[in-house]
Amino acid sequence: MTSSSTQSSAEVELLSFRLAEEEYSVDIMSVREIRGWTRATPLPHAPPYVRGVINLRGTVLPVVDLSVRLGMAPVEGDARNVIIVVQVGNQTAGLLVDAVSDILALPNSELQAPPELTADSAHSYIAALTIVEGRMIRVLDLNAVLPDEVAEAV
């Protein structure tokens, strides 16, 4: 997504979702589907943000608790939560979020690079920032969010 910011004329569509009262978004082109919450089978020795694996029509899908990944309290995991299935390269993973809110279409030029603030780790997962109707929306860098093993296994 950082590279797309140079093509200022192009439009980008974002899927926005809520996570602990904050708004985040991902490029809609990387979203495969949105699923309701199902219990994930925990993986031993996995980092805390890896919630486990779920059965996605016969394949094993790792689920990342985005809240923990971004340094917040874990999502409780009940009927209201959803799993956004995203694909980056050859890898598919689920992102556990509070709720999906909207689909936004905006020109690339409205995306700004996040300022360098080293105080919290979450900023390294954010590719860009934008303001829509007075709300700040963070655009996630999916490559950074997904578990490292996934990136290595490509």
Binding site: P44, G52, A93
Partner: protein, 709 residues
């Protein structure tokens, strides 16, 4: 001709080539081991010959050229004019390797191997020059090697005569297999000045005439500078379905032949008008009136190719098999779901639904076994590839190395074989490059100069064990340790056991060769091998004895698709333990459990102390319990003979589960082999007990330290 069917035929030709190359390698290995009988040599010759023949049909000239020259040399060998020396064997092997390259180059359109010419010249030097004109037999210094093929009268191979008489009598089978005498005769005509006569003697009258019978034969008189071999070559593909009689020099005196003397025919059938142009004449009667095999008692001088039993096999696209395997996998999951629903419905165990379901389960299992067998293949082709690696690697570093293989017939899933090739290649190269000493070092150590690498495959406790053993110097542990220190992989003062040091080889970025050789040590180390093996659900271990050698053992699952598992419950999580690794299950009594250290226990089972592991704690689901009395343990055995006892909460059932890899979606998890989907749609992890134990802390008592994981 349409491109499609041609491409198909081409593809099947190359598949055949692979098989021929395999038998070529086999026969060469047998020869190398001292089996010099005719049949073995003939197998070698036939393989090369058949490849040449097929390649000729597809106009693959580079391949034909190479195969032809190789064959020429082999022919000398077959005729016993060439002794089998170690040097010659080496060249034969090399040429076989190059032939394989040529085949691949022809198939993939790549460049043929560069050193083909050099090798051919070396080969031809063996027989003293190119294209050996059939010289007068120097019977004096020629020691026959007990050839069974009787050339009978050796005078039939005299110095190139200028006139040949060829009598060609097709059998029924020649026509039945779609061969056309016209083409053969035309090819004969291209060899030189050729006069052709057709023998109608057996034709008989049209009354009771059987159109399926082969009744004609031909006699050709060819004048020109050519050898018997060249003539015989024309009949290469039909020599087992016709009689060929080749005589030289004398003009025909046979009276069975007659130019025009046709037997009386009742009908208007008169081939005579065409008979002055024998080639055309040959065509029409050949089709209309195939001649009966003339009983020309003369036997073909060359040994008749032993008709190969056509193996009843079908070539199937691998994708189709994979689809079938996947479908069967889904079937197993579905059947499990059905079983669960039926069980929940609370039907009587002897109700027709239950019995029907049981029959269904048995059927599913049979189908699954059969499907898996389709995918299973012997490791032999893989081992043969390794033989080549050994030859090339040993030549590159100037060491004498022999590869011994055992258990080549062991069958493993095709995917496993394919994905094993790279790691195995790497390990074999390592064994040649690092494992074995140089000839002078070996001499100094009192060993034979020739190093031996043994490659074995066998089935053991539901897995396949592949071992690579070299009789080299063993792992230089002080050196390994020093390198590991220098590279910062271990602390200077680390206390390491011998096996700990051996296992340092598997650390990323480790390479013991002090000089980076062309062969190995390009930064890709044993860590890559290990992760490749792990990706297959396998394990690799190392054992070394100074001065004796190093042994790598790879343990692999038989199949990547299904396994028999025991479904257990641990801390509310469902897990599957491979049935093949479970020896027995037991309920612990107070007398069984003994504490070993402050945080560990052993279990006393059948007179043996077995370490106790709490699965819930090892997998990070819970803290170790205070008391294990009354708990259920699974007693597991590992390939290395070690045993361990694993605490579980409950045992749910035994069932077949479909393996779903975790590697691709997540990566390797210590102690976990894969995942599966249960009847309720939930994912359960499949344990790898041996890996689990290897990575286990063994904490079976709560303590103040945080738990691993």
């Amino acid at each position: 001709m349409a491109t499609d069917p041609m491409a198909e035929i081409r593809a099947s030709f190359f598949v055949e080539c692979e098989e021929l190359l395999e038998s070529l390698q086999d026969a060469l290995s047998e020869m190398d081991e001292g089996q010099h009988d005719d049949e073995t040599i003939n197998v070698v010759f036939r393989a090369v010959h058949s490849i040449k023949g097929g390649a000729g049909a597809f106009g693959l000239e580079a391949l034909v050229g190479f195969a032809h020259r190789y064959e020429t040399v082999l022919d000398e060998l077959r005729a016993g004019r060439l002794a089998i020396t170690p040097e010659a064997m080496k060249l034969f092997f090399h040429a076989a390797d190059l032939l394989q390259d040529q085949v691949r180059a022809a198939r993939d359109g790549g460049a043929p191997p560069a050193d083909a010419e050099t090798c051919l010249q070396e080969l031809e030097a063996l027989i003293g020059g190119v294209a050996p004109a059939p010289e007068a037999e120097e019977v004096s210094d020629f020691q026959p090697m007990g050839l069974a093929l009787d050339f009978g009268d050796l005078t039939i191979e005299p110095p190139a005569p200028n006139q040949w008489r060829v009598r060609f009598t097709p059998h029924d089978a020649l026509y039945a297999s779609g061969n056309e005498p016209l083409h053969l005769l035309r090819a004969l005509g291209e060899l030189g000045d050729c006069a052709l006569r057709c023998d109608f003697e057996r034709l008989g009258t049209l009354d009771g005439f059987d159109p399926e019978k082969a009744l004609l034969s031909w006699e050709a008189t060819i004048t020109g500078e050519l050898t018997e071999g060249e003539i015989r070559e024309v009949f290469d593909f039909v020599e087992d379905v016709c009689d060929i009689d080749i005589l030289s020099n004398e003009p025909s005196q046979e009276d069975g032949f007659s130019d025009m003397a046709l037997p009386p025919l009742d009908t208007g059938f008169t081939p005579s008008e065409e008979i002055t142009d024998p080639l055309h004449a040959a065509e029409s009667p050949a089709q209309a009136v195939p001649p009966e095999p003339a009983d020309s008692g003369a036997e073909v001088a060359a040994p008749r190719e032993v008709a190969k039993e056509p193996g009843a096999t079908v070539r199937v696209d691998l994708d189709r098999i994979d689809r079938l395997v996947n479908l069967v996998g889904e079937l197993v999951i579905n059947q499990a779901m059905l079983a669960q629903s039926v069980a929940e419905a609370g039907l009587a165990p002897n109700s027709s639904v239950m019995t029907g379901l049981e029959a269904f389960m048995m059927l599913t299992r049979d189908i699954q076994d059969s499907v898996m067998m389709i995918r299973a293949q012997p490791v032999k082709p893989l081992f043969q590839r390794m033989a080549r690696i050994v030859r090339e690697a040993s030549a590159a570093v100037g060491k004498e190395v022999r590869l011994r293989t055992e258990g080549e017939a062991t069958e493993v899933d095709k995917t496993v074989i394919e994905r094993l090739a790279d790691p195995l290649t790497h390990m074999i190269r390592n064994a040649v490059d690092h494992g074995l000493e140089t000839p002078s070092e070996r001499r100094a150590a009192g060993k034979p100069e020739e190093g031996v690498i043994t490659l074995t495959a066998q089935h053991r406790s539901g897995r396949v064990i592949i071992e690579i053993f070299d009789d080299g110097a063993g792992i230089n542990r002080p050196k390994v340790r020093e390198i590991a220190c220098r590279k910062g992989l271990i602390a200077e003062d680390a206390v390491l056991s011998d096996s700990d040091i051996d296992n340092l080889l598997f650390l990323p970025g480790f390479s013991t060769a002090s000089q980076v050789s062309a062969l190995s040590g390009r930064g890709v180390g044993m860590d890559v091998v290990r992760s490749a093996i792990q990706a297959l659900g396998g394990r690799i271990s190392i054992a070394s004895e100074p001065g004796k050698g190093t042994r790598f053992s790879i343990s692999l699952p038989l199949t990547l698709a299904v396994l028999d598992g025991m479904v257990v419950n641990v801390a509310d999580e469902t897990l599957v333990v491979p049935l093949s690794s479970i020896l027995e299950t037991a309920t612990l009594t107070a007398e069984d459990i003994r504490s070993l250290g402050p945080e560990t226990h052993v279990v006393h089972v059948r007179g043996v102390f077995v370490p106790l592991y709490d699965l819930g704690a090892e997998l990070g689901y819970r803290s170790p319990k205070k008391n294990y009395e009354g708990d259920i343990v699974l007693l597991t055995a590992h390939e290395n003979g070690a045993r361990s006892a694993l605490i579980v909460d409950t045992i749910l059932e035994q069932r077949q589960v479909v393996i779903k890899g975790l590697q691709r979606s997540y990566g390797h998890i210590p102690g976990v082999a894969a995942a599966t989907i249960l009847g309720d749609g939930q994912i359960a992890l499949i344990l790898d007990p041996a890996d689990l134990v290897q990575n286990a802390s063994g904490h079976t008592r709560a303590n103040q330290l945080s738990l691993a994981g």
